[in-house]
Symmetry: C2
Subunit: 289 residues, 2 copies
């Protein structure tokens, strides 16, 4: 089976040709310019590739409600030109194949569950901590959508005692994304996160905020595993700090076999950055049937 996969991002678009086993045969990347030009470039890549379906994991916010006329649209994004763009509909009309559509983080979550280290669980969440913070939610065997889709990167967090940074989120200032995403680190310390690896205070704060959010997600979603991805998380030793802070903050309130093995509960992605694009292959597969 030949399937198409498209991960749309704020700065670049990743396209791939693969199959139902999550194998990727060919990849193509292009910058995210204005929608007309960018979508056409992508369509030209997929044309004549004989794909049976296309799966899209999109930056948001998007409309995932099939009863809504805006299903498949990127909706109120601040990204210039992209608000109210019918992404799924464009490719359906242009490529004449079934198109599946979900958020980028839900795509990564379904990638982990289908092809990665979460094939053994029916409930998990995937969190990316990079330019922004996003959460993909797979519970009781299904991706969670709801009214819109989870936007759990913006939950409100307690301030760390020693942190006086006002926060970087234009909506909530000191929400999780405002305190812990890459740009928040850069704004607080005046340097990019990857140049601050030798400053322990940076990572003390980072671990505290991420662990706090994971406690809230664990209480809200009750996932069987938590997978971390994104640029910020690649700092050596950070995940160990997060596990420790999580255990302390949770304070044995939730008792389960999963939580007793914290090293297997809070983990890194096993798909080496391909969780999103592989998830899009699964979304394509599901669109076909």
């Amino acid at each position: 089976m030949i399937l198409g996969a498209l991960e749309t991002g704020g700065t670049k678009m990743v396209c791939a040709i693969g199959n139902e086993k999550g194998e990727v045969f060919e990849k193509f990347t292009c910058p995210t310019l204005n929608p007309g030009e960018t979508l056409e470039t992508i369509a030209e890549f997929f044309e004549n590739k004989n794909i049976e379906a296309l799966g899209i994991g999109s930056f948001g916010p998007v409309c995932l409600d099939k009863k809504n006329p805006k299903y498949g649209f990127v909706t109120s994004t601040p990204k210039p030109g992209w608000a109210d763009t019918d992404v799924a509909g464009f490719f359906e009309r242009r490529l004449k194949v079934p198109v599946g559509f979900d958020t980028d983080v839900n795509a990564a979550a379904i990638g982990e569950v289908t092809y990665g280290g979460c094939q053994d669980v029916d409930s998990m969440i995937y969190i990316t901590i990079g330019t922004g913070i996003g959460v993909g939610v797979y519970i009781d065997g299904r991706l969670v959508h709801g009214m819109l889709h989870p936007e759990a990167g913006h939950i409100l967090v307690k301030r760390h005692d020693k942190d006086d940074f006002e926060g970087g989120c234009p909506f909530h200032q000191s929400c999780l994304e405002g305190m812990a995403a890459g740009p928040a680190i850069e704004k607080r310390f005046g340097k990019r996160a990857e140049t601050l690896y030798d400053n322990p205070f940076v990572w003390e704060l980072e671990s505290y905020y991420i662990a706090q959010a994971l406690v809230d997600y664990c209480l809200c979603y009750s996932p069987r595993r938590i997978v971390l991805g994104g640029g910020v998380i690649s700092k050596d030793g950070l995940i160990e700090m997060i596990r420790k802070d999580f255990t302390k903050l949770m304070s044995e309130y939730i008792q389960s076999d999963e939580l007793r093995e914290i090293d297997k509960y809070i983990v890194l992605s096993t798909l080496k950055g391909e969780q999103g694009i592989k998830g899009c292959l699964k979304i394509a597969l599901d669109a076909r049937v």
Copy 2:
């Protein structure tokens, strides 16, 4: 059709006989004493009533994983005598009818969706704020379970500027339940919440903490409606304060038709305290098929 409904609580047990339309014909209440005695009293009530199935909404934590040998148990509760009690199994064996089992707050959520004011939505959450704080989660047409079940009453919250109360939760001190449940109000102000109706500071704090939690729930679950129940919420005018604080804290980050009509988004239960027991009738109905 004759169905049995049982809401188990830390202080009392509510039993009812009703039907698939959510009509309640007969009710019986008994105190929650030791499990042997209490479950037997309940079984005697249901005997010879010709119920086709029993639906239970239980205080927790409970095991809802059908693959787990402890399915249907109340598990690690601090309530004396009740840890590791096989509630669902007891009634299955004793009454020889199918038994459905879920949390008390999930029962209230499914009650609202099936018989109450949420029949028009496929995603909603039900929050009870009383002796404890619990959240029932119904997303994309199904109750959410996961590893255990949501315990979202314990999410961590930002402290109000003028609040120096250390918090009343034995696990997390200043989590939502520790700051805003009935016992937290009583511990902070030295008097029960219902005697503090004329002290505006009490309700300023209460509204702030609840609204903050609702913002987090809205971001995590993306529900189409939020229903509030429980003793604390009966304070006149409190829901209006919560709606106002919610709108301010959310800061227009999520844009949806539902959120534009906040009076219809954050609402009180329409089932006048019967949301839980009616939900148990629906759980019984679903156990039958």
